[in-house]
Symmetry: C2
């Protein structure tokens, strides 16, 4: 499943992510997820956010749509230890909270997601600013968990994404996949604004939080333009904002993340 | 304290907000706040977010700085009933969660805020885009809890703010004041993009969540430009993004909120 450019792709890879998001239900509000084998020393933040969203979404009727999620990453997760997600039913009208518990220790707030019925409202949207963005194949994940350095730029980093193989027809899964994917390149936008002359291994990255808002339905097999930029960084903390646009320029989802970017003195 | 334009200002008004943010400590991790008298039927979201942040901030040493907050507004609060904030010490390194409990019923997740020591990192910033924004005096709050309609525009709504009277020298208070203020005009940016021909009373607004990131220290008596825009709205949900800039163009804080904007058929 490794193409010429060294990036894993194809049905087995996509199936791997789907399997990752297929949590084991332990009790009514209790779910367990595992991390993929062969990972680095820490669990990928996008995995935790998307698994927590799966857990929360499993406890509401399928027709309920996720509005948003807010996640804090409190501690680094150990990939060898399964993660237990405990869903707290905050409000029957559709508000949910999920917390992750790893190895019996409470690791703090995870995700809250909600739904309300749409009534007569307002509608507008922002078109994608970028043109001629790099066309890249879908959901580069396990092989790309350690984000690649990108070129120095003040502009947004643009990546095209889509599920390049068959995906189950599942609205919740699509949203969770997008959450997973959103964390892959977001912090790169902070680093891209700096001309850092140290080996990539000395650039320490950690997601501190992750917020997402899902504005419109989208198809898993359509191309989405993911545009990431960083408006500010100070004292090793950088803010990164990401936007998913459909091919016809509709804003599908927004992501915001604060990340820790540090230069370490040793590899 | 009402100026010619009908907006309350002056030391008593500012003192009122300071009093609002001076919570009563019931126990080590338990705080109680009240709503100002003469309010509408619902508690103002900015009040809940800022009071929760006060509660969380009171449980850490004063030198600790707030990184960010994420808040969900699950239910409308009754201004007549005091709000109890329960702080959960998630991690001693500075991560905190605060939940609000009103009238004995758990109202869901409130706020989490964190601190990490700054090491060698990266630093960049975005300059304010706007020029010639409307200069307005500080923290218009209680008299302005019901946001005013603004003109139809695709551009950002810009408001200058500052504490126009004396404020106690308290870093936490400044950040909480900014949180409070950030909720005043944010949703207006959603409405400003639409030419809605109904009386203002028929436009129903509700904040669904509120996220803030604090990038840099700022002074309470310096002018801050608050720039709000809405990139998208669909099915009565609108996303609003706000940015506080100092006069020299440094990005001080970022706010993101999803709001419900609906046209009701009756007033």
């Amino acid at each position: 499943v490794l193409a010429a450019d060294g990036v894993a792709r194809g049905q087995p890879v996509l199936d791997g992510v789907v399997a990752l998001l297929d949590l084991e239900q332990l009790e009514v509000n209790l779910f367990r997820g595992v991390s993929p084998p062969g990972l680095p020393t820490r669990v990928f933040g996008g995995q935790v956010a998307s698994q927590a969203l799966v857990a929360a979404g499993r406890t509401v009727p399928v027709e309920r749509e996720v509005h948003s999620l807010h996640a804090y990453f409190i501690r680094a997760g150990d990939p060898k230890i399964p993660i237990v997600y405990q869903v707290e039913r905050i409000r029957d009208a559709g508000w949910l909270g999920a917390r992750r518990r790893a190895a019996g220790r409470d690791s703090g707030p995870g995700v809250a997601a909600g739904h309300r019925a749409a009534r007569r409202g307002v509608r507008h949207r922002q078109r994608a600013l970028g043109e001629g963005a790099e066309a890249e194949p879908a959901l580069r994940h396990r092989a790309r968990l350690a984000p690649r350095r990108t070129g120095l730029t003040d502009g947004p980093i643009q990546v095209w994404m889509r599920a390049d193989c068959t995906l189950p027809e599942d609205k919740l899964l699509r949203v969770c996949m997008l959450t997973y994917a959103s964390d892959l390149t977001l912090l790169n936008s902070v680093i891209a604004r700096h001309d850092i002359h140290v080996p990539d291994e000395r650039i320490q990255r950690a997601s501190l939080d992750h917020a997402m808002w899902f504005h419109r339905p989208f198809r898993a097999d359509e191309w989405l333009l993911y545009e990431c930029c960083s408006p500010t960084a100070s004292g090793s903390r950088g803010l990164a904002q990401g936007r998913f646009f459909s091919r016809d320029g509709r804003l599908v989802a927004t992501a915001v993340q604060e990340g820790l970017v540090r230069i370490t003195s040793h590899v």
